[in-house]
């Protein structure tokens, strides 16, 4: 057969999700030819940046065999705290510095998760559920609960920066913001860690079997700790981008999105038992969720049915492989 295709190509979640996306785009273009334009693509891309970065982090945690529901709280915390800090101390600070501080705050909060999970061995869902409340409660109680629209000017500069912008012949406006570069950077960095470093391979190994990882001498504690710190850092980055692009530091935003992000990652083929998950799949999952959230109306489904659609996609995307695995297990006896 075709050698360049992986053996399990036709049964992979990635293929399934890509198929659904293509089918959706074909349908959408048929019902509204304006759908398939660079404007739509740039709109969808912009909507994918923050979710995409968060999803990459969520994927890493799933690969390591855990689950994290606190990353949205970390993102908001890091964004809001760094904004408040710079408004108070140095409103004219350059945006890269504000970003770095947000990332550092995110890492620190991630390290708290990591401490309880890696060093104390507590279940990941429970810990991150607890820290979700803690981070959010701390932020709103001690740092602030007001929306801030007067951001440091450099953050607004960042949101104005575009890689490309223009108007198509048909008169449609499009733009690709700087923030898209951040997503690309995160993807490349994470790809490098996962594929090219022993640390990344150790994350997969731990997800495959913690016990085996210990036996062959992988430092499970520190690897897990790294995962949560890294996820915290990504959340810090996603948060500050969200604040900058939205031109508003809103301490109530993002939280509540965590399950949708995890859903996108799972749609892309990551498994809750750990050890499985790819960047391609994750990005496809994000793309699908973002398309459904933004363009459902184009194929004639009212936006009020958006939630139902995403729910059904999750059930199909996880149900088909689960059912297949169940049947295979029954056949094997």
């Amino acid at each position: 057969m075709t050698n360049w295709l992986p053996k399990d190509f036709w049964t992979r979640n990635e293929t399934l999700v890509a198929g659904v996306i293509i089918a959706f785009c074909v349908l959408a273009t048929l019902s509204d030819p304006r759908f398939f334009t660079i404007t739509t693509v740039s709109d969808l891309l912009r909507a994918s940046i923050v979710i995409g970065i968060l999803a990459v982090g969520a994927m890493l945690v799933l690969v390591s065999g855990g689950i994290d529901v606190s990353f949205t709280a970390i993102a908001v915390f890091a964004m809001y705290a760094s904004t408040v800090f710079f408004l108070a101390v140095w409103p004219d600070a350059p945006w890269p510095l504000i970003f770095v501080v947000s990332i550092l705050i995110g890492s620190l909060l991630g390290a708290i998760n990591g401490f309880f999970i890696a060093f104390l061995g507590l279940p990941t869902l429970i810990v991150t559920l607890g820290t979700l409340s803690i981070f959010r409660g701390f932020l709103l109680t001690f740092i602030g609960s007001q929306r801030i629209s007067a951001l440091p000017p450099s953050m607004r500069d960042f949101s104005r920066g575009v890689l490309a912008r223009g108007t198509t012949e048909a008169g449609n406006f499009y733009s690709i913001p700087w923030a898209a570069l951040a997503l690309v950077f995160v993807i490349v960095l994470t790809w490098f860690i996962l594929k090219k470093t022993m640390l990344g391979r150790s994350i997969y190994a731990i997800g495959g079997s913690v016990e085996s990882a210990r036996r062959i001498g992988i430092n499970v504690t520190w690897t897990q700790f790294f995962v949560y710190v890294y996820v915290g850092a990504l959340a810090g980055l996603a948060g500050i981008i969200h604040g900058s692009v939205g031109r508003m530091a809103d301490p109530f935003s993002l939280v509540g999105l965590e399950l949708s992000v995890i859903a996108a990652v799972v749609l892309g083929g990551a498994r809750l038992i750990g050890g499985y998950g790819t960047l391609t799949g994750t990005l496809l999952g994000v793309a699908l969720i973002v398309i459904v959230q933004n363009s459902l109306i184009v194929v004639g489904i009212p936006t009020t049915w958006q939630s139902v659609t995403i729910g059904i996609l999750i059930l199909l995307g996880t149900g088909v492989p689960a059912y297949r695995a169940k049947r295979a297990a029954a056949r094997a006896g």
Binding site: K196, R201, A205, G208, S212, I216, G217, G275, Y276, G333
Partner: protein, 498 residues
């Protein structure tokens, strides 16, 4: 003697290990020469796994000295031990199902050389060399989860070789292998020995590894009770040393099975597992089903209890056909199944002893869904007493019991349902010798009450001591039906292996 110690790769002297007052090892001396294969034999709890844990650095010894590769090791941990060339292949192989063959083989090596970056090319090179060394070809890119058991074991061996193993410790290496695969393993072991790699087999079934070994060491209750050249041991003498007594030749049961046919199995088949299984079971009959692992004996047993759905064939009790592939229907028809693996399949370890029995009788004591608790508990307690389960407190979790008592709890659950057919898969695996004899008595007693018993086992003396008839399976088919009274152990062993 001293020169032997000078050359030894591993040299343990007067090793004692105590856990909270329990002496697991009592002043044991143990040496392994380079290129030597040693059988470490002993029953469960004899101290053999403790000894392995000490050599591999998982547990520190309480007293004694350890020399590995000529150096005295005062502090030992898994990393130091591995760096010295000691590699353990656990029974579950400790592989990563989600990673490729190449990565599984190379991972430990790359960790030990403190690689920071992962290079796919170098990884494959390490794996290819290791596979070449034992003359085996496995696709390097395949995920380990899709390999058959024997190939997983080869991957584990290659991983040890890639890490410059000087001593490979194999825990129960042959349990999951077919005859052919055991032969190949033996060939590989011979090759490794020629290259100077030492091997320790940890096992309680040694016939298969005895012929490639130089030395046998037998532990019992934490003490070394026998040591000598492998040629001086056979299965019988090993059993004697392991158990501390000659296992009495139990006369085959003199109770005759009844005349009525209880269970009829006709043409039972499942692709890839078993084919065309036909047999009858009479009331009061004990029927043995034996075969090597992978012969299909466990699949057949599971199919009888509805845990495996056959593609074709029928099962009937008293002439009435029961639906296949449905454990509830089988249990309703009063078929009982005591699984092989008590710890994961048979018992609810952290639940109380009494609950583990009572779970079989919930419906009988439920009135419109509500349980009559006292009747349920009293009945379970009664069965525990009848099977002589030694438990200080029946509300204690079942994991606090010894193997033999645990097996009795599993039996009690099914006996309380008054089964007509009871399937016992490996009834005495991991049970001490005393309890083993008791369990055999229980089996004979059940038969005398008219219950049809099916014993699935590869413990030949056990089959001969309990069974009226023995079916031998190979490659999913019944190849022999033997009379349990007239067949000899050697004959049976021969038919099993041929």
């Amino acid at each position: 003697m001293s020169s032997e110690r000078d050359t030894a790769f591993v040299d343990l002297r007067a090793i004692t290990k105590r856990y909270a007052g329990v002496t697991a090892l009592d002043s044991v001396d143990f040496t392994v020469q380079p290129g030597e294969a040693v059988c470490l034999a002993g029953e469960n709890g004899s101290g053999k796994s403790t000894l392995i844990k000490i050599i591999s650095g998982v547990e520190p010894a309480t007293e004694g000295t350890i020399r590995i590769a000529g150096q005295e090791r005062r502090t030992l941990n898994p990393r130091i031990s591995a760096a010295a060339g000691v590699m353990v292949i656990f029974q579950d192989f400790s592989l990563f199902p989600n990673l490729s063959v190449a990565e599984n083989i190379a991972f430990a090596t790359q960790l030990s050389t403190h690689e920071r970056f992962y290079k796919a090319h170098a990884t494959k090179e390490i794996a290819r060399k290791a596979l070449e060394r034992i003359g085996v070809e496995i696709d390097l890119d395949t995920r380990v989860e899709s390999l058959p058991v024997a190939q997983k074991q080869l991957v584990a061996i290659c991983r040890a070789l890639a890490s410059q193993a000087q001593l490979i410790i194999m825990d129960e290496p042959t349990t999951a292998l077919t005859e052919k695969e055991v032969r190949r393993l033996q060939g590989i072991i011979r090759m490794l020995k020629e290259e100077g790699v030492a091997v320790i087999f940890v096992s309680h079934k040694l016939a298969e590894v005895l012929e490639v070994s130089e030395k046998v060491v037998v532990l019992r209750n934490g003490k070394k009770v026998a040591e000598g050249p492998a040629s001086e041991f056979d299965t019988k003498s090993l059993t004697y040393h392991m158990t501390g007594r000659d296992v009495p030749e139990v006369p085959p049961s003199d109770i005759m099975p009844g005349a009525e046919t209880l269970l009829q199995v006709r043409g039972l088949s499942k692709a890839g597992a078993f084919e065309d299984i036909d047999f009858d079971l009479k009331t009061g009959e004990v029927l043995g089903i034996t075969g090597l692992l992978g012969s299909g004996r466990t699949s057949v047993a599971k199919a009888l209890f509805g845990l495996v759905s056959p593609d074709a064939g029928s099962i009937s009790i008293d002439g009435k056909t029961i639906p296949t592939g449905d454990p509830q229907a089988a249990s309703e028809a009063r078929i009982g199944y005591v699984p092989e693996d008590r710890l994961t399949e048979g018992l609810f370890l952290n639940q109380s002893i009494v609950r583990n029995v009572a779970v079989g009788r919930l419906d009988a004591h439920a009135n419109g869904g509500w349980l009559n608790m006292s009747a349920l508990v009293d009945e379970a307690a009664e069965w525990l007493k009848r099977l002589k389960v030694k438990a200080p407190d029946i509300e204690a979790p079942v994991q606090s019991l010894s193997g033999g008592n645990q097996q009795r709890v599993a039996l009690a659950r099914w006996l309380s349902r008054a089964p007509r057919v009871l399937i016992l898969n490996g009834p005495s695996v991991g049970v001490d010798v005393g309890s083993k004899a008791d369990i055999h008595d229980i089996v004979r007693d059940l038969a005398s009450k008219g219950i049809g018993v099916i014993v699935i086992s590869d413990d030949l003396p056990e089959l001969l001591a309990t069974c009226h008839r023995i079916l031998v399976m190979r490659d999913g088919r019944i190849i022999d039906a033997l009379d349990g009274k007239t067949v000899s152990e050697d004959d049976l062993a021969h038919r099993l292996a041929s």
